[in-house]
C-alpha cells in the first residue's frame, strides 16, 4: 500500500480554502462566503460587524430564517427553541432570528466557523419539503358545492360579484340570486381567510358590511365563510359573526365539512325573509 502524504492533503485543502473563500463588504460588514453548501444549495455567508475597537459581532444576517421562510418553513416557537439549543451547544446564540455571537479579534475564526455550522444544520428541514397537492382551494370547493346544491328556486349563482358601497367597491365571492316567485332571499358569500392577521381581516370585513348599509345590497343575506378558524382570535370571530346573517367556521384539514354544512345554510338563508 502506498504511503499517504497527509502534508500534501493539508496543503491542498488550505489552498482550496484560500481559493474558494470569498470576502466582500456589504453595508459596512464583512461578508465571508465559505465553500460549504447548505441543503437548499446555497453557499454559506457569515457577516462580521465591528462594534468597538476590539469587539465583533458575527452572525448569519438572518439569512437562515429568511430562506427557510421563503421555502415555506416557519420559525415556530419549538423550532426557535431547537435553534437556540443547537447554537448554545456549539457555543453561540440564536436570538432576534439570527445565529450570532460576539467575540474579540482572536475568536473571530472560531465564531465564523460556528455560525456557518449552525446555518448548515438549521436547513435540515428542507429535506422534508416535497411537492404536496394543497387541499382544493376554498373558492373551488364552494363553487362545486353550490353547483351541486342549486335548488329549483335559484335563478343563478355567480362568482366574484362587485358591489358599490358608500365609500368603496367591495367583492362577494359568490351570490345566489333566487327566481322572483316564490319569494326567496339573495344570499351573498364572503370567504374570509385569516391572512396575516385575523383582526385585520375582521376589521376589513366590518368596513365592507358597514359600507354597503343603506344600499340595495344591505337586503342580501350575508354568509361569512371563515377558513382556518383555529388561526382566528375570539374577538375577530365575534366581529365577523355579529356582522353576518350566518357564519360557517372551518378549521384547517376540516374543509370537506363545507360540502355538508354549506347546502343546509344556503337553504336556510334563502328561505329566510
Amino acid at each position: 500500500m502506498a504511503a499517504l502524504d497527509c502534508g500534501t492533503i493539508k496543503q491542498g485543502l488550505l489552498s482550496y480554502f484560500q481559493q474558494e473563500i470569498s470576502i466582500d463588504t456589504i453595508r459596512d460588514q464583512c461578508a465571508i462566503t465559505l465553500p460549504i453548501t447548505t441543503l437548499d444549495q446555497r453557499l454559506v455567508t457569515i457577516y462580521v460587524e465591528k462594534r468597538t475597537d476590539d469587539f465583533y459581532l458575527v452572525h448569519d444576517g438572518g439569512k437562515t430564517v429568511s430562506e427557510l421562510f421563503s421555502l415555506g418553513i416557519h420559525l415556530t416557537d419549538n423550532k426557535a427553541e431547537l435553534f437556540s439549543r443547537m447554537a448554545k451547544s456549539l457555543g453561540i446564540g440564536f436570538g432576534d432570528r439570527l445565529f450570532q455571537t460576539g467575540c474579540k479579534v482572536g475568536g473571530l475564526q472560531q465564531a465564523i466557523i460556528t455560525v456557518a455550522q449552525c446555518q448548515v444544520l438549521a436547513m435540515t428541514d428542507v429535506l422534508q419539503q416535497k411537492p404536496t397537492l394543497e387541499d382544493e382551494s376554498m373558492t373551488s370547493r364552494v363553487r362545486r358545492t353550490l353547483d351541486e346544491w342549486k335548488p329549483k328556486y335559484i335563478n343563478k349563482i355567480e362568482p366574484n360579484i362587485t358591489v358599490k358601497g358608500k365609500h368603496d367597491k367591495h367583492r362577494f365571492d359568490f351570490v345566489s340570486y333566487p327566481k322572483p316567485k316564490p319569494p326567496h332571499s339573495t344570499v351573498a358569500i364572503k370567504i374570509l381567510a385569516p391572512s396575516h392577521s385575523s383582526i385585520w381581516q375582521a376589521d376589513r370585513y366590518g368596513f365592507f358590511v358597514l359600507d354597503i348599509e343603506k344600499t340595495l345590497y344591505a337586503k342580501w343575506k350575508k354568509l361569512a365563510l371563515v377558513t382556518k378558524s383555529e388561526s382566528w382570535s375570539e374577538s375577530a370571530l365575534k366581529l365577523v359573526s355579529q356582522l353576518s346573517d350566518e357564519t360557517i367556521s372551518v378549521e384547517s384539514g376540516e374543509e370537506e365539512q363545507i360540502e355538508r354544512i354549506l347546502p343546509k345554510t344556503m337553504t336556510q338563508l334563502s328561505k329566510a325573509s
Partner: protein, 157 residues
C-alpha cells in the same frame, strides 16, 4: 387531482392578484419581519381541464432590519417555490459561472423547482421594505389591491 407543475411557467408569466394593499404589506413586514399571503389563482385560459383555481402562496421575509441583502421573496405552488428573488454573496448559474448579488430564482421544469439563478438588476440601491416590495412584486408580476383600509388594531391580534 394531479399536480399542475406543467402550467408553472404560464403562471409565473401571468399577472397574479393578491387581495391586500402594498401599505398593509409594508406595515406587517415592518412589525413582524415576515408575511405569507395566499391567492386563488384562476386557471381559466391556462388549462381547460382540472380545477378552476390553484392556491398560490407569497412569502416575503425581511428578517434583518438593515441588512437588505438577507431579504427574500418567493412564490409557491403545491408548497414548492416556483419563483423568487434573493441575494447571495456568491452563487453559480447553470453554466457554473460565478456571480454575486441579487438574482431571480427561475423555475426549472426538469427539476420541478425554482433553482435556475438569473442575475437581477435594479436591486442594489434598495434601502427600505417598501422599495423591496415594489420592485420585487413588479418583477414577479404580482398585483395588489389599490385600496388601503389600514388597521389601527393590527398588532392586537
Amino acid at each position: 387531482m394531479q399536480l399542475q407543475f406543467e402550467y408553472t411557467e404560464k403562471i409565473v408569466a401571468a399577472e397574479k392578484y393578491f387581495d391586500i394593499s402594498r401599505a398593509e404589506i409594508v406595515r406587517v413586514l415592518s412589525d413582524t419581519r415576515e408575511c405569507e399571503l395566499t391567492c386563488d389563482f384562476p386557471l381559466a385560459g391556462i388549462t381547460e381541464s382540472g380545477p378552476d383555481t390553484v392556491l398560490l402562496r407569497l412569502n416575503i421575509s425581511c428578517t434583518h432590519r438593515t441588512l437588505v441583502e438577507s431579504w427574500t421573496i418567493s412564490l409557491k405552488m403545491h408548497k414548492i417555490r416556483i419563483d423568487g428573488i434573493d441575494f447571495q454573496a456568491v452563487y453559480y448559474d447553470r453554466d457554473k459561472k460565478r456571480h454575486r448579488g441579487w438574482h431571480r430564482n427561475r423555475w426549472n421544469s426538469a427539476d420541478e423547482e425554482a433553482n435556475k439563478h438569473e442575475p437581477l438588476n435594479g436591486f442594489d440601491d434598495i434601502n427600505s421594505i417598501e422599495e423591496f416590495v415594489i420592485r420585487s412584486l413588479k418583477v414577479m408580476k404580482v398585483t395588489l389591491n389599490s385600496q388601503d383600509h389600514g388597521s389601527t388594531r393590527l398588532w392586537d391580534d
